[in-house]
Symmetry: C2
């Protein structure tokens, strides 16, 4: 890909390498743009393009003003969910594939949690289920607590890489399906008894294989639901921006859209 090596790529790769290698640790401030551009022997415009990309990757946080500047940051897990959501929206990945990916991670996480969970973590998992039960009416809250349950199980796995990636996937999954298919659960109480409680029970007993089996059952049910809805093989690509606001701001969007519409 870098057949014609560009200066901005060099800037990005250079800074990225320094950040990832620990030479530039999170929290440290970069020099002002003019100074850094001079140090790297590139123009400020070129440097800015690179900083923009790094900022978009979540490696830098840039602020204006006197004490502003670029600060090295640890990229949030949201960057993963953002890119997955992007894939989803462009129809490169189907709902079934994403669900499969989730299943691989979550089943493993449940199995690990059965062995490693601390009493505290076990308690947290149980708490999320209580909250789930309490919100039997509100489908939105129900969805939220369902994800909290998965998150608690993931954290109990003791593998942050696993849990953070999982959460990113769940966020992307939830963002893509948002509120449209909320009412697929006939009876939340029964759902918990049949699907969630066995997971908690197995993890509580420290039974690896049962934990795995229980989580597998949960995902079988989820995948069946996707199939019945007919959305398993088709990603929800073209929605309006408002629905897929994964990044959270539709602010500048409308402004620019109107600007684009005027000229066409």
């Amino acid at each position: 890909m870098p057949y014609p090596p560009t200066a901005v790529d060099a800037v990005v790769e250079g800074l990225r390498g320094r950040i990832l290698s620990g030479s530039l640790q999170p929290g440290t401030s970069l020099p002002p743009e003019r100074e850094l551009a001079s140090q790297l022997a590139v123009s400020r415009a070129t440097l800015r393009e690179g900083l923009s990309i790094l900022s978009q990757m979540g490696l830098l946080s840039i602020h204006r003003g006197r004490t502003g500047g670029a600060v090295v940051t640890a990229p949030p897990a949201t960057t993963v969910s953002a890119s997955i959501a992007l894939l989803f929206q462009t129809r490169a990945v189907t709902a079934g594939q994403l669900c499969e990916f989730r299943r691989a991670l979550e089943v493993e996480a449940a199995q690990l949690a059965a062995v490693r969970r601390s009493p505290q973590e076990l308690k947290e998992i149980a708490t999320t289920l209580d909250a789930y039960v309490a919100s039997s009416q509100d489908t939105a809250a129900q969805n939220l607590h369902g994800r909290a349950f998965h998150h608690a199980v993931a954290r109990a796995s003791g593998n942050p890489l696993l849990s953070e990636t999982m959460m990113s996937l769940n966020d992307a999954f939830a963002a893509c399906f948002h509120l449209q298919h909320t009412a697929r659960a006939p009876d939340p109480a029964q759902l918990i008894r049949d699907l969630h409680w066995p997971i908690l029970n197995a993890i509580s007993r420290g039974d690896e294989s049962d934990a795995r089996r229980a989580m597998l059952t949960h995902f079988d049910q989820l995948q069946n639901a996707l199939s019945e809805l007919g959305i398993s093989d088709r990603a929800i690509g073209n929605q309006t921006e408002g629905d897929l606001a994964v990044t959270g701001d539709g602010n500048g969007s409308s402004r620019c859209r109107s600007a684009l519409a005027g000229r066409g």
Copy 2:
């Protein structure tokens, strides 16, 4: 964060919205930068920053030359694996955790491959094993073909999200432990007979549970090797080799770092 809405954000959001909404479909070419900048009422530098970001997101493919320009593209799955890789590169992830993550994905991939593999894909898996056998002397080539085997299995799973992410992780894994323990395999032929061949065999027979079990055995062996080497709990340090190649000397690097010390 974007309290002051910036023009480049407006450009990114605007074009992103147009692409995701289907108004700009993959394959369509954007106007030349000068013209598009004029249409959006921004300067070319600002537009270029936006195009850079969109290109980095995988939504645009930019080429130089007379027939060059920005072409709308569907983002490849590699963007997801890249962000996941970025996630674990910036977190303190141990070799054991990474291996666990790989196991979750690869075991699932093997199981899926047993059901979905085409004859062609099966043949490709077998080919990689042949190459593995043929390179019994060269440890580097052996490593390479070992990864090719895993790649082939992953692709046979029929889930690009799964396979792409797996490959990204494998590359990172291999890069991290490249030099240290090349000679941990006593007898490659026996290794293949005990670990790899059962995987191929199970996938060939379409036996899901056997494929899963065989891949699990493979990873158990790998994790045991990591434990014996005592590097299972060691954090993955990223040794990015290529330093900033703009100035041509490492002088600016140290200057920058010393300049950074004063701030923060």
